[in-house]
Symmetry: C2
Subunit: 304 residues, 2 copies
């Protein structure tokens, strides 16, 4: 049994103040799987692409020992494409275009040998599809899930249904406020964990992340970065690092969830150092571990 | 010798979504002194009020063993008044009015027996006045200073002159970006410490605070508050707690500066729990220490 990852694979066109790329590898399943691949195999990926999806991207996934047995290729179809432009401070982005293409008709079919997965990471896709994935699993034990404003506003009922089955929800601060309809994040966290997930992670970009679990709150710092080249995929890399570490250690204690938040933050920090998935392609586990130690040091006080 | 605090004393009118107060005790010197008073005496306050300044506010300061030997009362003058209104999420505020009154002609005269102070906290006032204070001191060893956008934009030269003499600058994130003319806070921190201060603290409100000292970065979490009644004075309370703790411990090592950031954050969290200075009036040192422990726990991971 592996770590099941379901989400999008995309060809991204990204403009930042520093550079631009066209048809670069992107998508939530891609970033999650690559980030998770540094912890423990196998990562079992489910998604859909068109026949235009470059062979080298497939090879890259396979080099990371990602099992693409659940990757559907639609004959003659075009891969999902997204275009975005980041502004000077990189906190604001405009979506230039979204072409769903083969994603429009995506029916996530979980291969027989993936269905027994106990650890699952559901990337940000339509909650109806996320529910369909869970329906096919025989005994999921730990389900991590991402979503976004678009689904919170447009598919609230389906999302609330999904949340009843989910163990960890990973969203950003504006999504948390919207989902809970409450501006205070501490109050919002209680409202959201009452919806189902025993654990909530709120990502705050340059301000780090917060973990709410088992009545306790953990605050993780952000990595002090002088240069962010491309924020695309940071949230997915976080989810991949978080879930990958927990899958590897098989320890779901509150303290280990905190460690997993730091590993997730570490993978996100690698992600944004380069364009597209480049920052996640050639790391060693030692580099990942060193980044984790650096994160711990940022909030460490030696007590006397 | 005591801890010298120079800044404003004000009568504040504050509107929040929850309540309002008129002519409540306020001002940077007030919040700094009250917060610092929980650590070690004596706090020596320098400021100015009019004859309309209520006697009970003077008594409150004296109850906290604050030495008001440097407090000028201008005969027939009116005390500095400020009015502000906070919006629903409490992160945005409008200034309703600013009446400088006796503050307009304020000439900070440091009493003879305050001039040997080695620890100094300069509240947010005109940098020309902050410089005037330093000119009167015989041997200041540790100068903590606050400022604001208004002075960064309007008195840049005076501020830069001041910064050459200052050891710690405490400002918020937007002020840091403005002062350094650099949106990235990590880069901004280097630009600002090159201006003079060996240590920079950037306050980020609900996202905590960052300390830059001696080439290292420390990230302090925010206290998870479900209810903020009145954010007025939080930054000054931070500066008071930070400086007060260092004055008490006389240890300026990087690790103790980190502890001081957490004590500063603790005092700020008490401040915003009640209107005006109420949150700083009746604490015990045990309460302060407990809050400090709570802060440490928020970012603690037990390492295995």
């Amino acid at each position: 049994m592996g770590l099941l990852v379901v989400g999008s694979l995309a060809l991204d066109t990204v403009y930042t103040p520093f550079d631009k790329v066209e048809d670069a590898l992107g998508g939530s399943a891609t970033y999650i799987s690559l980030a998770a691949s540094y912890f423990s195999g196998p990562v079992q990926m489910v998604g859909v692409v068109g026949t235009d999806f470059p062979k080298e991207y497939i090879e890259l996934l396979m080099e990371h020992k990602i099992d693409i047995g659940g990757l559907q290729t639609i004959d003659g179809g075009k891969t999902f494409r997204w275009g975005g432009k980041y502004h000077y401070d990189l906190n604001v982005r405009d979506t230039l275009f979204t072409e769903l293409n083969v994603f429009e008709e995506f029916d996530p079919i979980i291969p027989e040998d993936f269905r027994k997965s106990k650890y699952v990471c559901l990337g940000n896709i339509d909650p109806t599809l996320q529910l369909k994935v869970l329906d096919q699993l025989t005994d999921p034990q730990f389900i991590v899930c991402d979503t976004m404003n678009y689904w919170i506003e447009g598919k609230k009922d389906e999302l609330l249904n999904l949340l009843k089955q989910v163990h960890v929800l990973v969203i950003n601060d504006s999504e948390a406020r919207l989902l809970a309809n409450e501006p205070n994040l501490i109050k919002a966290s209680k409202i959201i964990t009452d919806m189902g997930p025993h654990t909530l992670i709120i990502k705050k970009g340059e301000h780090g992340a917060m973990l709410f679990t088992d009545g306790t709150i953990f605050s993780a710092p952000a990595y002090p970065m002088e240069m962010i080249f491309d924020p695309t995929g940071a949230g997915d890399s976080f989810a991949g690092g978080f879930t990958g570490y927990l899958y590897k250690t098989r320890d779901l204690s509150p303290n280990n969830l905190k460690c997993a938040v730091i590993y997730g933050s570490s993978m996100a920090s690698f992600c944004v150092e380069k364009f597209s998935t480049k920052g996640l392609e050639d790391l060693s586990y030692l580099q990942v571990h060193d980044r984790y130690r650096e994160f711990l040091n940022i909030s460490r006080i030696d007590e006397t």
